[in-house]
């Protein structure tokens, strides 16, 4: 994900041609196709062997991320990864996948889950942001890095860090560093949380709300939710999308805080405008809601219920392809480059905030989604 910080830099022109972007995109498609192939064939190949049970339980996000990481190593060895990275569009793939996912979420589920999701998001963001900001201050982190880490860990990972970086005028290396931390912590969470949800015997709704509230970056939430099951994926997505929608509020708050307290501007100069809120609002949320409305009306009004279900299943197949492309891109983009020079303090802050996030999100998910019925 560190490439997101450098993609906008004009001096990277030699590696940013359209040819490299297309080649990078083709790499993602090829690895996505390989993911589908392995998902379909590994259980057949391992039938009758001691690995049969394990092979059957491996879901597509695991193949996708693993193949992305292998591709990452291979392309780095060939010195091609940076050049091709413009084709690794994790944010575009995941957001398109989430818009398509909206079509399979009944509007009633979306509306019913929106209330607890908003309450969970407000409490979780306030608690985790506040804790990270406080701990970062105690350990002497610079204010801009504190703002980036607190936004990333409490809201929606890399996207939140990017929005916060714009709000507080952070340096590129600070953003690269925050993005690396997000992915380094998200990768194990993708597998750990569905496993823990199973160990704790959580319902699909609670597991989904926990995954959506805890894992930082949206693509990783979708990967983890997909491992936990379709119902958990739906709730995880609604919870994460709600958090995404709140990034604008936090970014505007940070802009005003830094203008008033750090840059010592007047209250009039620091006052946010509606235009700023709209600029920061993640527009894919609108597509997600629109798709849910369209999908719900389509199923409700269809004369042939079976045919309508089959059509939505086709939309789900398309959605799975986009999620696979996003997961492959996570693996391809993963880099620890940003972490090397920053020292232990930001890692300690981020790790502590992640633990607080896990515990508080589990408590809130249990209370708010304990009696939630899906469907």
């Amino acid at each position: 994900m560190t490439e997101q910080t450098t993609q906008e830099t004009p001096e990277k022109a030699p590696s940013s041609g359209i040819g490299y972007a297309v080649a990078g995109f083709l790499v993602v498609i090829a690895l996505g196709a390989a993911t589908r192939f392995l998902e379909a064939h590994v259980p057949q190949w391992s039938a009758g062997t001691p690995f049969a049970k394990v092979a059957k339980s491996i879901e597509f996000p695991i193949y996708a991320i693993a193949l992305g990481l292998i591709g990452n190593v291979a392309l780095t060895k060939l010195a091609l990864r940076d050049a091709l990275s413009r084709g690794f569009r994790t944010e575009f793939f995941i957001k398109t996948g989430l818009v398509l996912l909206g079509a399979s979420i009944n509007l009633k589920v979306l509306v019913t889950a929106a209330g607890p999701a908003i309450i969970q998001a407000l409490l979780l963001i306030s608690t985790v942001f506040g804790f990270t900001w406080w701990l970062g201050g105690r350990l002497g982190l610079e204010d801009k890095l504190r703002a980036l880490l607190a936004s990333a860990v409490s809201i929606c990972g890399v996207s939140a860090a990017i929005a916060a970086a714009g709000a507080v005028q952070a340096k590129r290396e600070q953003l690269a560093y925050a993005a690396s931390l997000v992915i380094a912590f998200a990768l194990p969470s993708i597998f750990l949380l569905p496993w823990l949800a199973d160990v704790f015997n959580l319902s699909d709704a609670v597991a989904g709300a926990w995954i959506g509230g805890n894992i930082d970056t949206t693509a990783a939430v979708a990967a983890s939710g997909a491992i936990a099951g379709e119902n958990a994926l739906q709730i995880a997505t609604i919870v994460k999308t709600t958090q995404n929608a709140l990034i604008g509020v936090v970014a505007i708050g940070l802009t005003a805080y830094f203008a008033l307290k750090i840059e010592r501007k007047s209250a009039d100069e620091a006052r946010p405008t509606i235009g700023q809120f709209w600029e920061r609002f993640p527009k894919f949320v609108l597509g997600f809601i629109a798709a849910s409305i369209i999908g719900t009306l389509y199923v409700q009004w269809a004369a042939d219920a079976k045919g309508a279900a089959a059509t939505i299943a086709t939309v789900n197949d398309l959605r799975t392809w986009f999620l696979i492309f996003a997961f492959v891109s996570i693996g391809l983009e993963f880099s620890l480059k940003g972490l090397r020079e920053a020292g232990w303090r930001p890692i300690a802050v981020f790790a502590s905030a992640t633990v607080v996030n896990i515990v508080v999100a589990l408590g809130l998910a249990t209370v708010l989604f304990g009696n939630f019925q899906i469907g």
Partner: protein, 40 residues
């Protein structure tokens, strides 16, 4: 690394692109232009 502030211009464009591509694909599937049989 430069000291240049980092923004999110590119991501805003990707947001709208994701909405357009996602809803266009949804419309094509619902209209029957993309049948299930063509998706591997």
């Amino acid at each position: 690394m430069s000291d240049e502030p980092a923004g999110r211009k590119l991501n805003i464009n990707e947001d709208w692109l994701a909405v357009i591509v996602g809803l266009a694909l949804l419309a094509l599937v619902l209209a029957g232009a993309i049948p299930g049989s063509v998706i591997p």
